[in-house]
């Protein structure tokens, strides 16, 4: 493994896990968000070699048997995606939030998603979906 390989490229190009997206490639957009030992992080700002021995969950790991999680169903029901590019990162950030805080307030949802950019201006529906998955809407 070359040390310069970014984790996001390792996931996509070496492992074929293309659900994790490369968006801005500068650490801003959050499309590459994955879980590192259970915490959301941006995989474009990590070298693959750094995570040797750590537990990584990608978007593919949310519904390994094909049955959507309640959060994924809420995204579907609330029209929380349009083009879908930001969706994997949004789901990873929101999943981590709900694992820590099962019933987040709108403010808490917005803070948790601050590192994820949607360019279809879908934030309202995304926030609604996360709140619904948390039983709050």
């Amino acid at each position: 493994m070359p040390a310069r390989r970014l984790l996001v490229h390792f996931l996509r190009d070496d492992l074929g896990l293309t659900g994790t997206h490369v968006g801005c490639d500068t650490g801003n957009c959050g499309a590459c968000t994955i879980h590192l030992d259970g915490e959301p992080v941006k995989s474009c700002m990590l070298l693959a070699v750094q995570v040797d021995g750590a537990a990584i969950t990608t978007i593919e790991g949310l519904a390994p048997d094909g049955e959507l999680t309640p959060l994924q169903r809420a995204f579907n029901e609330h029209h929380a995606l349009q083009c879908g590019y930001c969706t994997p990162g949004m789901l990873m950030s929101a999943t981590a939030l709900l694992e820590r805080n099962a019933h987040p307030s709108e403010e808490e949802v917005r803070i948790a998603l601050q590192g994820n950019i949607c360019r279809c201006t879908g934030y309202v529906n995304i926030v609604e979906a996360v709140k619904a998955a948390g039983g709050g809407a």
Partner: protein
């Protein structure tokens, strides 16, 4: 973007990390990587060897030293600062300010040591740590030395940490009776890049006021501190003490704000930080 080729080492001890830094020209410590990996992508930095500090758990601890100082390991993340009960007891402003850095993902990886060693003039923690009178412990193969905050920050992207050295911890005096801390910032978006920020500490000995983003390093505002000596710290007297501070500064002009705008912000934010610190004095 592809990084230039780089060698990589992940030492298991601080001693080994320092040896790697000392023995390799062009070696750089890799802490959380939330700045370094990006500047490597942009080819603004091209270290020969990355010394990953990720396995050095002894640098991640937050605890109280034998002398009562709050000791923050250089690899403590912003998320740790936010959730630490020690920080909450001793100096809660550190967690509050850490919670305004970037976003959840960055706060999970970014470290206090990385933040201060980058010493980007738009970072919030350098001016805050100067206001808190923090001390920085730097280790090398020759031993350990401790540097005060005013000597640690030396220039844009430049600190007292030299080649072959490693910042290992930051020590902050815990708040005592009569101590209060304040922080005020103008940023692009709620948790975005800083335009000007101000940190203040009120103790029984006086007031410390430090501005960020107006100079290459955090700038103490001694004239304002002197005007506040013995002050009742009422809103009127604090605003009067801030008046004229802007004219003493030579801040940069850029797309985010002119020098004059920064001078005006500096006075407003310095006053806000002092008023917050005064209102939060510990009984």
């Amino acid at each position: 973007m592809l990084l230039r080729e780089v060698d990589y080492a992940r030492p298991e001890t601080v001693k080994d990390a320092i040896a790697l830094l000392a023995e390799n020209d062009g070696a750089r410590p890799l802490a959380g990587g939330q700045t370094l990996v990006n500047v490597m992508k942009a080819r603004a930095a091209s270290p020969e060897v990355l010394v990953d500090l990720g396995r050095l758990d002894q640098l991640r601890t937050i605890s109280f030293g034998a002398d009562g100082m709050l000791e923050l390991g250089a690899m403590a993340t912003y998320a740790q600062l936010i959730s630490s009960s020690e920080v909450e007891v001793a100096r809660p402003i550190l967690g509050e300010v850490a919670a305004t850095i970037a976003d959840v993902q960055v706060r999970n990886r970014g470290t206090i040591g990385g933040n201060v060693c980058v010493n980007d003039p738009t970072n919030h923690l350098p001016p805050l740590l100067v206001a808190l009178d923090a001390r920085f412990t730097i280790r090398s193969q020759g031993g350990e030395r401790t540097v005060g905050a005013s000597d640690f920050f030396q220039g844009v992207y430049l600190t007292a940490v030299g080649e072959g050295e490693l910042l290992t911890k930051i020590s902050v005096p815990p708040a005592t009776s009569g101590t209060g801390d304040g922080f005020a910032a103008m940023t692009i978006g709620r948790h975005g890049t800083c335009i000007v920020d101000a940190a203040a500490t009120v103790t029984e000995d006086g007031v410390r006021v430090v501005l960020g983003c107006v100079a290459p390093t955090p700038a103490r505002v001694t004239e304002m501190e002197e005007r506040l000596a013995g002050s009742d710290l009422s809103e009127e007297s604090v605003r009067a003490a801030a008046a004229g501070v802007g004219a003493t500064l030579d801040p940069p002009s850029d797309v985010h704000g002119s020098a004059d705008y920064r001078r005006a912000l500096a006075e407003t934010l310095a006053a806000r930080a002092v008023l917050q610190a005064a209102a939060r004095r510990k009984r």
